[in-house]
Structures are given as C-alpha cells and as structure tokens.
Symmetry: C3
Subunit: 209 residues, 3 copies
C-alpha cells in the first residue's frame, strides 16, 4: 500500500460516484412511484426533496475531495463534470416533483408516467455504469451503456413532443397547460442530463480504455 | 510528412469543424425558407430534424477524435467547446422548427422572419470563420467576424424584445401567445449560441495569433 | 519587482474581478430600488441595462487578458469561470428588469421585493469575497461567505416556490401569471448564479488555502 499511496483516495472517488448514482436512482424510483400511484403525494415529494439535498452533499464532498487531491484517477475536469451532471439529473427529478406540489396538480396522465419510466431506466443504466470506472480494463463496458442511455433520451424526446402536442390540443384549461408544460420540461431535461452523464463516461472510456 | 505525423489529424479536425458549420448553415437556411415560404412545412421541418441528427453525428466524431488524439492543433477544451457550441446552434434551430410543428402554428409573422434572417446571417459568419482556423497566420481574421456575430446577436435581442412586447399586446388568444413565446425563445437562443461560438473563436485567436 | 514580472498582471486580474463584482452589486441595488419604489421605472431599467453592457465589457477584458497571460494567479479555468459567472448574475438581473419593461407590468408584489432583497444580499457577499482573492493567506475567509451565499440561495428558492404557488392560486388574469412566472424565474436564476460564483470561489479556496 505504501507504494501506491493514492489508491485509497481513488477508491473513495469511486465510492462517492456510486453513492451519488444510487441516490439519483432512488429519486427516479420515487418519481415513478409518485406518478404511477398518486397517493401519499406530499410524503413522496418530500422524500425526493430530501434525496436532492443528499445529492448536493455528496457532490459537494466529491468536488472538495477533487480540489484536495493531487493525483486523480481520471482527468480532474471529467470527474468534476461527472459529479455535477449526476447531481443535475437528481435536481431535474426534484424540480419535476416540486412543480407537481407547487402547482397542486391532480393525477398525472399517461405521458407523465411514460417519461418517469424512461427516467428510471436511464438512471438505472448510469448506476450500472459506475462500477466499470474502477478498473481500466472494464472501461470499454461503458460504451454500450452510453448507447442505451442515448436511445432512452431519444425515446423521451419523442414522448415529450407527443405530450406537448396533446397538451395544446385542448386549451380550455390554460393553467393546466402551463403547469404540465413546465413539469414535462423538467422531466425531459432529466433525460437530457442523463445523456450528458453518458457523454462524460464515453469521454473517459475513449481516453483511457 | 513523416516528421509531422500529427498534421493529417489536424486537417481532419478542421474538416470536421467546417462540415459542422456547413450543416448548421443548411439548417439556418431551411428555417429561413420555412418562415418566409410557409409551404411544404412538414418536409422542411423534417429536413431540419435530419440536419440536427447529422450535426449530432459530426459532433460525436469530433469529440471521439479529440479523446483519441494526443496532440491537438488548439487546446483540447477549446476544440471540445467549439464542437459543442456549433451543435447547440443547430439544436436551437431544430427546437424552433420542431415547436412550430408540435404546436401546429400557422403563418409566422414578420418578427419570426426577422429572427430567422439574423440566425442565417450569424451562422454564415461562423461558416466564413472556420477556414481561418487552418493557419495560425490567418487567426487574426477571426476577430472582425466575431465582432459582427456579436452585433447580430444584439440585433436579434432587440427584435426578440419587440416580438415579445407585441405578442403580449394582444392576449385574446393565450395558446398563440404561449406557443410563439417558446418559438421566439428558441430562435433567440440560437443567436446566443452563435455568440458563444464567437467567444470560443476569439479565445483561440487571442491565444495563438 | 523585476524578479516577479507577473505581479502587476495578477493585480490587474483582481482589480477586474472587483470591478465586475461592484458592477453586479450596482445592478442588484438598482433592481431592489426598482421593485421597492416603482417610480422612474424606465430610467432605472435603462440603468440596469447599461450596467449589463459594462459587465459584458469587463468580462471581455478579463477573458482577453487571460488568453494573453502565460502565468495566472489561479487556474485559468477557474478565473475564466469566475468572470463568466459574475457576468451571468448581472445578466439575470438585467433579464428580470428587462422583462418588467417588455411586459409593461405594474407594481411588483411582496415576493418580487423579497427576491430582489435576497439578490442584493447575495451579490453583496460576493463583493465582500473578492478582496480575499488577493492574498493566499486570506483565501480561507472565502469559505464562510460561500456558506452564506448558499443559505441565501436556499432562502430565494423557498420564496420563489411560494411566489409561484401564490401566482397560480388566482389564474383569472393569465397574461399576468405568465409574465410574473418569467420574471420570478429570472430572479431565482440570479441567485442560482450567485451560488455558482460561490462554488468557484470555494474551489479556489480549497485548492490554494
């Protein structure tokens, strides 16, 4: 160990990233639960808000650790970006759930369910990707996961466009239209941010694999 | 050539950037066509969506090449940023056209035409700028083009503000207001992203000229 | 001095950052004045727009100087980010004021006043932080200021959420709802950008203190 004094620190980074990804998946899972079973709404939204705070704390720890560490397992910029983009996903999930509470919306419709399902799928792929960062020999395993995350983002885009189109087909209740427009936007941005995570992972794989 | 093994790769980057810029100009041209001649709407919007996909593919190729290349003609970060910002312009153009389709809008008004014209002008300046990256001696030629792109962004801002002001002067058709608010936003953001491209180009010129 | 030829340039950077922060505070102060004393509206909004232009010019000077300087007091990326994020705060303040003019809104309500007050507080903390960049021995003084800026951002979030909730409680005047939704968004983003500034400052403190 004395010969590789940086190894413990490296492991710490990978631990942090896995915790951050798990936290994000928990938020995505809770959002899916929320829109599929519109019960105990306040409790579920509070849980997501709490996960968002935990995500902030983890991100903060990663960044502080990066600033204090001289030799990092990958480029400092990539690790910083990875931490922030993971956190952005959780933020968007929280923003979607928060908007449902602020706007006192009623039962989400099928498109909201479809988007929540895709968000959970995309975050689950990211969670699967994280352990592959630990060994240079498994970095190439990241690439097919990144392809799948991109596919899911395209799928979310398609659902989002139909959702908006449907939303504006009936404009008799304009506040409803405005509220769901914003909620859908937050959900779609969550999958955009998953794609950003995939871009960072792909970059790391291409540089080091 | 054997003494400068990186030259062919350098040329490849410049080729990529020029292709990406040309692709962006094609999208801007098609958007201008769309709002000036509101015919074959679906076909024109589909063309822009196709150009957006091609832009994604080119950007992806540039980033992958950057990760695989040890010595790059300019700072890796600047080249990465240039690739992404060029792509952002195309994305905003596609978002504007896509929103017109999703929201089933009718004839665009004069302000939409004015914005589309400015977007085409700003992207054309960027296209003109790209070949100057090939030679350090012509990098200084980038600076007046960047000034012009900034001027066009200010012009777009002014049109955008008047467009919003006019839009809210008559709120009898609120769905119309909401839809065009979003479309104008996408168009204005396209010129913002052109300015971001100009900032990257100016940075490269200042560092290397 | 001849032995440390980079010192004068260092001082120039710190001067620039302080001028940019002061400019941002002036804009925040004018916004607070505007929403608390809804008189001479056009003049106050024009002043903010003018401060936004000056902010652009300062940012431009910092970036140009960074590109021309070989040895910078801190990491070039951090300094570039600091310059841009300071400018983003001013931009959001200007966007909020500009939207009030474009949308011809009447008297701002209490929530707009509360947000403007928090923006002024957060920018004032940033202004206090700037001189600590000049000496490595005082960099640790940045950390409690960053904590306070984060606290203010959370406070702004809470006000923003209540403001949106109240806004949608009465949807009899939908154009009013849409306009203030956007203005509140710009104001909330101003505090987000203050937090981004704090993140950069914290990073510099952790690396160098």
């Amino acid at each position: 160990l004395a010969r590789f004094p940086f190894i413990p620190r490296e492991q710490k980074f990978f631990d942090f990233f896995e915790v951050s990804a798990q936290n994000m998946v928990k938020a995505a899972h809770e959002l899916r639960e929320l829109v599929y079973n519109w019960e105990n709404v306040k409790q579920k939204i509070d849980t997501i808000a709490e996960l968002e705070h935990q995500g902030d704390a983890i991100t903060h720890q990663i960044i502080a650790q990066l600033h204090r560490t001289f030799i990092t397992p990958f480029d400092r910029e990539d690790m910083c970006l990875l931490a922030r983009k993971l956190d952005d996903v959780t933020d968007c999930i929280d923003a979607a759930a928060g908007a449902m509470q602020i706007y006192k919306v009623a039962h989400p419709n099928q498109k909201a369910k479809d988007l929540a399902k895709i968000i959970l799928q995309a975050t689950a792929e990211i969670e699967k990707a994280m352990p592959h960062l630990r060994n240079h020999s498994s970095l190439k395993e990241l690439l097919p996961l990144c392809v799948e995350i991109n596919r899911l983002e395209n799928a979310a885009d398609a659902v989002f466009n139909i959702a908006l189109s449907e939303l504006f087909d009936d404009t008799s209740d304009i506040p409803y239209v405005i509220k769901w427009h914003e909620i859908y936007n937050h959900m779609e941005r969550a999958t955009d941010k998953c794609e950003d995570v995939a871009d960072v992972l792909e970059g790391i794989a291409l540089k080091h694999a």
